[in-house]
């Protein structure tokens, strides 16, 4: 099964120059390699801070785009890793070793299996 692991952090904490943050950033480079070695790796990207992003909304046929979001005080989505794991517990176990789990947080989201019915809410 596939899991998208979304990595969140406070930009000011991660890039604020604290030694543990810098160490975690150093470690990040080797994490993908480790996942490849254990057969878990599928894909990953790190994201530029959201200041560089555009947000799109289409309402009543009209598109509006805004810059941002600008959320310096909030945790932002900083990147994602898609992994292959036998189940949610394995995915959680694999991602608990991610260096940024110590600084920010990692959300492990199962990828949708379209043979399953849609959720009824």
């Amino acid at each position: 099964m596939r899991y998208a692991c979304l990595i969140y952090y406070h930009p000011k904490t991660l890039f604020g120059g604290a030694p543990e943050s810098n160490a975690a950033l150093e470690e990040c480079a080797g994490f993908g390699e480790k996942l490849t070695e254990t057969g878990h790796y599928v894909a990953s990207e790190a994201l530029v801070l959201p200041e560089e992003a555009m947000t799109i909304r289409v309402r009543d046929g009209k598109m509006s785009t805004v810059d941002g979001p600008f959320m310096e005080t909030k945790e932002v989505l900083g990147g994602f890793i898609v992994i292959e794991a036998s189940d949610l517990n394995e995915a959680v176990q694999v991602m608990s070793a991610h260096p940024l789990a110590k600084i920010g947080s990692v959300e492990v989201r199962p990828v949708v299996d379209f043979s399953e019915p849609r959720p009824e809410l």
């Binding site: 254990t38 189940d87 176990q93 199962p110």
Partner: protein
């Protein structure tokens, strides 16, 4: 060797060997996490090497060895960074290759006792046993128990943390501890079986797999422990299993014991269960599982409802009620009295049990009461009891059965006198 051949071999090994490889790796590496990581690495290594080198004669031994060495390599690398190499020397010593069948099963048994440890919450025991011993995924367990994946994942994470904190040893408990620990292990196995048997709605494949897994675990307990209650539990599960096909009709609706096609019952399973019950009774230490199995065996040997030895069944329930004085057992005994002495006596017995409280919200109690009333011809009272049962029943198959009974009563019109 061609790639598809090797891939088929790896898939087969994943299905048949994964559980045992994991159980052994947990023992060798001393914990769940390193063992699971090693298991993954072992299969990754197999995917790389089997197509080139051929499928090993003993995939189990190959995978255990690969997983173990991959872990040692990884720990060595980490140790070099941390400078604690000497501690690893012991682990890197060659140990006898686990090629004999006995130690393999011992590992699984140890794992069952760890997963069913009384220090863990009951829900956690079931989830952990199914995942670590049964090899089910978190998501499969969640589907079988109609709950969310993260709920199960959380239970497993907590249980593993608890095992680490409490330093629960990875071993079969000693003589003094065994009875209490065994009770918990047997209970977990029976709950797993029931989850696969009682619910016929939902993703049926996973459900039947749960029962098959419980029977596999039951066999393992019997082979390795030779305990009367373990024998009783396996016999009980086999007797349920023997009737599985006749419990529902082609439309998936519930078929009552009296309407089941007894020629379709699996005589091979029934004979096996009979042998197990005889072995258990010979120990003279009968407990609730042996007694329940003995009751089920009386049903299984009868050619029909009328020919069933109801006196023997009531007598067995009397003994069972002494070792397990629960209202559900009392209800079953009351229903058996209804078969032995007629519906009037049965109704009296059921009302006696309901009078003690504790079963007022149990739909089967009201269904049993309704059945006695129906047989007495008191259709209006029967209808009221069926309605009460229907209000309380949640399973679609059971609800359809109760609705059908209500329709039948209405079809018969007013109360007969």
């Amino acid at each position: 060797m061609s790639d598809p051949q090797a891939r088929a071999a790896i898939e087969a090994a994943y299905r048949t060997e994964k559980r045992r490889v994991l159980a052994t790796l947990i023992r060798l590496l001393g914990g769940f996490e390193p063992a699971e990581e090693a298991l993954h690495e072992a299969f990754a290594a197999a995917a790389d090497r089997w197509p080139r080198e051929g499928v090993p004669v003993n995939p189990y031994a190959w995978l255990v060895s690969a997983g173990r060495f991959k872990t040692i390599d990884r720990w060595r690398r980490q140790a070099r960074l941390a400078g604690v190499l000497p501690e690893l020397t012991a682990l890197a010593e060659p140990v006898a290759e686990p090629t004999m069948p006995e130690p393999i099963q011992d590992d699984e048994l140890r794992l069952i006792f760890v997963c069913c440890h009384p220090a863990l919450a009951p829900d956690a025991r079931i989830a952990l046993t199914l995942r670590e011993v049964g090899g089910l995924t978190t998501e499969e367990i969640a589907r079988a128990y109609l709950t969310r994946g993260p709920t199960i994942a959380q239970r497993i994470v907590r249980a593993k943390a608890r095992i680490r904190e409490a330093a629960i040893p990875y071993e079969v408990p000693g003589r003094t501890e065994l009875p209490a620990r065994l009770e918990s292990a047997l209970q977990v196995i029976y709950l797993i079986y029931n989850e696969g048997y009682a619910a016929t709605e939902g993703p049926s494949l996973t459900r039947a797999d749960l029962s098959a897994e419980a029977i596999r675990l039951g066999r393992l307990m019997v082979e390795l422990l030779d305990d009367a209650e373990a024998l009783g539990l396996l016999a009980l599960m086999l007797l349920h299993e023997a009737r599985r096909a006749t419990r529902t009709d082609a439309a998936g609706d519930f078929v009552l014991l009296e309407d089941q096609d007894r020629s379709q019952w699996d005589r091979r399973l029934i004979a096996e269960a009979d042998g197990l019950i005889r072995r258990a009774l010979a120990t003279r230490r009968v407990g609730p599982y042996v007694l329940q199995a003995a009751i089920a065996a009386v049903h299984a040997s009868a050619p029909g409802m009328a020919e069933t030895d109801w006196a023997e069944i009531v007598a067995l329930y009397d003994v069972l009620l002494r070792v397990d004085p629960s209202p559900v057992v009392a209800l079953n005994r009351a229903a058996a009295i209804g078969m032995r002495d007629g519906p009037a006596a049965g109704l009296l017995a059921i009302d006696g049990v309901l009078g003690h409280g504790g079963l007022d919200d149990y739909h089967l109690a009201h269904a049993a009461r309704a059945d006695m009333l129906r047989r007495l011809g008191q259709n209006e009272a029967a209808e009221a009891s069926y309605r009460r049962a229907l209000d309380l029943a949640s399973q679609p198959v059971e609800r359809r059965f109760l609705e059908a009974r209500l329709d039948q009563l209405k079809g018969q019109g007013a109360t007969r006198h």
